[in-house]
Every structure is written in structure tokens, then in C-alpha cells.
Symmetry: C2
Subunit: 343 residues, 2 copies
């Protein structure tokens, strides 16, 4: 096929947002796809992963990954199909996962380390699940909980953003390891979902204003592990309920990402002292050499029917800016995925 006739729609970062990203922070452009050089592949985006971490990549400053530059295509992981290949590494028709970016087509070296494409098996699971439990959110949950949290059977694990991408998997991994699992989610629908569909022992609807009471009721033996995706008041409240030697896994702080005022630090952090407890950050990339182990265990549970996930799929690349905001408004119900093209 001739790649030069393809037109590639792309979202570039136009400006660094102040607070919530707004339409003028993006350039939505069209550019022709260039010819492939030797060793290169052309990937057609099918699904893109929308994640809270994207907000951090839009900021300047030192972080665990370099910021997206102004004028650069916005970074995004995704699932795509190889539609042209001049590399022995991938064949036309292969389904791959990697750093596609917010665009319709990715072209570059098959071995590009930043993109990090690898083949996935479309028969083992529906493709969007490779952006959820079998992708970064699942690996974040799996290694964050098991490596940083070190759960023991019988312990109580609390997870915020329980119906979100990471939260869903945290709770189910913890259940598989014999823990009592209590979610925190926004709204009755999400709370019911994690209990009835995912098998959490309980879920507290923080929007009903009952977090403190809920923790008291559902964590009668206190909190041994707290997996925090949200920060802010929720982190502070859970800190009042932790046990001796508790572990708090800092995975994110979605409540703080769009602040125009300074981040709210956890005022109750001295609970770490009183309880000889530990608060530790996790970045999933550190476990890249063991993703296959985590994914294999989760696939096994999925095939046994004891591990479920929910994706919230928005269609159309052009809807990227609005879809991203859903994350920060708590409007997504399940892992947020942008469908860019039909499979």
C-alpha cells in the first residue's frame, strides 16, 4: 500500500494548561503520513488510553518522565494495527500496544524504545482490556499493591478511585490475595458496581459525605493498606484510620492535578509517625521487565471468571479534549478509552 495518501489527524499540545485543560491548549491538525524507511512500521490507532497522568505530562518541570513539549503530539498509550511494515519485528495485521500518541497513525522504527510497541493477542481478551487490567493501569495496580503494599491475607485494603482503571484492579488483586477490600468511589452507581460486579467487600460513596463513618463501619479492624489515586481530603481522612505498620501507596492525586493553588499536603501525615507507617510512591515503568508476569496472572483470573473490568469507551479522535476532562470531573465509569477506528 502507499502510505503517502493517508492523512493523519493529530492533537498537539499548544499551550501548558493553567488549571483544567481548555480547548486552546490543543492544536488539532492534519498531516500526511510519510513513507516508511527500512526498519519502520505504520500503526493505525484503534484505541487510546486516557489517563489522569496525562495532566502531569502537560506541565513543565522535573518528573518521572519528560514533559510533552509545546507543539509535540500529545503522549498516549494505545492499541493499534500494523498496516505497513518494513521491519521483520512486526507483520501487517499484528495488533500492538505502545506509545501511539493522540493521533490516527504512528510511524517510526519498529524498535523505537519510547513507543515500546509489543504484540498483544486479540483472542485472549477484548482489545480495550489491554489498556486496562492488561495494560498500564493493571500493572500499576498489580505491582503497586504487591511490591509496595506487601499485602498479607486477612489485612484490610482500602482503594480510592475504586471504579477507575487502577482502582478496579487493585481491589481485585487484593481479593485474590485474601484481603478484605473496601473501595472509595464517587456516587452510588460506581459504589454498587465495585461491590456487586467486582466483588469488593464494601464501597464508600464519598459524595454522600460519609467517608469517615464509612471507614469506621467497613474497616472495623482499621486500614492496613491504602492505595491512593486521589489525594486531598480523602487521603487525609484515611490517614486517621491506619493501623500500626500501615502502607500507603501513592499512585496519583487526581483531586490535585488541576489545582491553580498549591497542592494540599496531607495534614494528617504525622499519623505515619504515630503508627510507624509508610507512604511510598509507585511508577509503573519500574516494573516493565515483569509486566508479563503480572499480565499472565490477571489473564488467568479473567479466564477463570474471577477478574472483571469495565471500560468507558468514547468514540472519535476529535473528542479527545472533552473526553480527557471526564477523568477530572469523575464522569467516566470505568477505564476511559478513546476509540479512534473500528477494529
Amino acid at each position: 500500500m502507499t502510505t503517502s495518501v493517508l492523512i493523519n489527524q493529530q492533537f498537539q499540545l499548544a499551550a501548558r494548561p493553567v488549571g483544567m485543560p481548555k480547548p486552546s491548549d490543543w492544536n488539532f491538525i492534519s498531516a500526511p503520513v510519510r513513507e516508511l524507511a527500512d526498519g519502520e512500521i505504520l500503526v493505525k490507532a484503534l484505541y487510546l488510553s486516557l489517563d489522569p497522568a496525562m495532566r502531569g505530562w502537560m506541565n513543565e518541570g522535573k518528573s518521572y518522565i519528560r514533559p510533552v513539549a509545546i507543539g509535540e503530539i500529545m503522549r498516549a498509550g494505545g492499541i493499534g494495527r500494523v498496516i505497513a511494515s518494513k521491519s521483520p519485528k512486526f507483520a501487517i495485521g499484528d495488533i500492538v500496544s505502545g506509545g501511539i500518541g493522540v493521533q490516527q497513525y504512528w510511524v517510526g522504527a519498529a524498535a523505537d524504545k519510547t513507543a515500546g510497541f509489543y504484540k498483544v493477542d486479540p483472542k485472549a481478551a477484548p482489545l480495550p482490556k489491554y489498556l486496562n487490567a492488561l495494560g498500564m493501569p493493571g500493572m500499576t495496580a498489580y505491582f503497586g499493591l504487591l511490591e509496595v503494599g506487601q499485602p498479607k491475607a486477612g489485612e484490610t485494603v482500602v482503594v480510592s478511585g475504586a471504579a477507575g482503571a487502577v482502582g478496579q484492579s487493585v481491589g481485585q488483586v487484593a481479593k485474590h490475595k485474601g484481603c478484605r477490600v473496601v473501595g472509595i468511589a464517587g456516587g452510588k452507581e460506581k459504589s454498587d458496581f465495585v461491590v456487586n460486579e467486582l466483588g469488593f467487600d464494601a464501597c464508600i460513596d464519598y459524595k454522600a459525605g460519609t467517608l469517615k463513618e464509612g471507614l469506621k463501619q467497613h474497616c472495623p479492624d482499621g486500614v492496613d493498606i491504602y492505595f491512593d489515586n486521589v489525594g486531598g481530603e480523602i487521603l487525609d481522612t484515611v490517614l486517621t484510620k491506619i493501623n500500626l505498620k500501615a502502607r500507603i501507596i501513592i499512585c496519583g492525586a487526581i483531586s490535585q492535578y488541576n489545582n491553580t493553588t498549591p497542592v494540599k499536603g496531607p495534614a494528617n501525615y504525622l499519623s505515619l509517625l504515630v503508627n510507624r507507617a509508610r507512604m511510598e510512591g509507585i511508577v509503573v515503568f519500574d516494573y516493565a521487565d515483569r509486566y508479563h508476569i503480572g499480565a499472565a496472572e490477571i489473564v488467568k483470573w479473567m479466564q477463570q471468571g474471577t477478574f472483571k473490568t469495565r471500560e468507558d469507551i468514547v468514540e472519535g479522535l476529535e473528542n479527545f479534549p472533552d473526553a480527557l476532562l471526564m477523568l477530572f470531573e469523575g464522569k467516566n465509569f470505568g477505564k476511559l478509552v478513546l476509540k479512534v477506528a473500528d477494529e
Copy 2:
């Protein structure tokens, strides 16, 4: 001797302080010392330890130790002499360390677990040092740094309250373990002391307003371990300089103990995420069964002349309320000790 003729001056907690403790929060009373029963000892207080942690013991609420009750003698560790004994455990003349309380005489069972008296050797070190490097502050430093901090030779260790009781020992233990040590202290005199007398590699005078610059200058390879005694802005600033896999030991937060507003949480706590770092609390009592190991190593260093400490000794039990305030105003220079009687 007849113990009933002795009059015991004591400080009782009269009210729970709001903010800085004030004179009316104390009752200064005199009571006769009762006769000894079998198994009991009478200890004459010589030196009492004044520590930031005392402020916490005056508050209601769950903590690592129960609050001092209203009307109860204020809790304090101290060094005293056994002046009467009906127990085979201690003889008259023994010098002991334990929970004497803010009073002239302690009477009770020799085996009392709360007081926890044990003999110290007055020939091995001057008595006030048993309240400093050879007592709780030294053990806090030793086990907090080594067990929670897990220092490796060549790493950079930063310690706040560097001229204070815990800070002095943290820095010197770290030097003995091959680390680069940078203190943070208030004022030039204290800063010069920890460098020139204690052998820290550098010390930053935060009162000169140069903490951020000072860290940049004196920690060219970043911060691997931060031992925090102060909290507040200093903790927040150090969080901007930590390395990957850094360890932050939360030992105290003297800047926050007298707050009448909520504690200032560390706004930069997401640096833990970015750096996969860990923040963990330490309570010295957890290491009680190994104090003898820590004390033996520090005594050895003292005898080699490579471990020094400084005590700031205030005389007179009646000066307890004012002396305690020195801690929160940064007016003590070295471990604060209240001398109650001549040796």
C-alpha cells in the same frame, strides 16, 4: 532512712494547652513521699529530659502513647539515684534511668514497666549523656537512621534540628556509616557547631533564608535520606531535592506541635511518587530490646573521641515550664536537660 520526711515537688498537668503551654496549664505542688512497700524503690531525680515529644503527650487523642491525664504528674524520662530500696533489683546508690516524671522523687515498684528503670554506669559517661546520645534521642537517631533509613556509604543524609538532641546523633551515626551529612539548624552558632564540633560536612542556617540554595550547594548529588524533626516548610523544601528511592524518616514536627490551626501537610508529597520514595514514621520504643546494641556502639565511638554531644542544662525543677518552651522557640543549644539536684 525515713522516707516520710521527704517533701516531693511535682508538676502536674492542670489543663490541656491550646497552642504554646502557658503557666496555668501546670500545677506546681508539694506532697510528702510515702513509705516504701516491699519490692519498691525510691529514686531521687538528678536530671530530667525535656523533649519536643512532651508537647504531644499533653494532648488528648490516640497516639503512640497514652496522653498524660489532667491532674497527673507530667511524664518525663530522667536520671536519678536510688536512695531507698526494698527490692533486690536495685541497691542504694545505684544510678538509674527511667520514667521519673517532672518531680523530685519517684517511688514505686522496682519492676514497674511504665517507668522501666535500668542501671547506668556513671563512669562510662557523664550522666546527662544518658538522656542524650545514650538515651532516647540517641536511640531514636540510631535506629531511625539505620533501620528506617537504611543508609549506604556515599549517600547524602540531611537532618533537620541538627544541633538538637536527635539531630546531633543522626548526623554522627551517618558519618560513621560513610555518608555525606548536611544539617539544617537555626542560626550561625548552631550551624558552626555541628560542622566544627560534630564533623558534619555542612550545615544550612535556615534562619538565613537560604534553605533551597543551601541544599543545592551542599547536596550536589541530591538527598538520599532526610531525617525530619521539624516538619512544615523545611520538610516541603527538602522534598523538592530528594533522589530516586529516597527515604524520609518522620521523627517529629516541632514546627507544628503548638499549632492552633491544622498541621501543615507536606504540599510536595507527590515528590514521593515521582521519585518512588518513601516516608516512614519512627517511634523509638519499638527498638527497646536492642537499645543496648545501639548504646554500646555509641559509647565505643565516644571513647574513641569520634562521637560528641552537647547538652544545654537548665537548673531547678521550678524552671520546668519556662525551660520546656525553649524547645519550641529554638532557644536551647544542644539536648535540653533540667538539672533537679546535684549529683
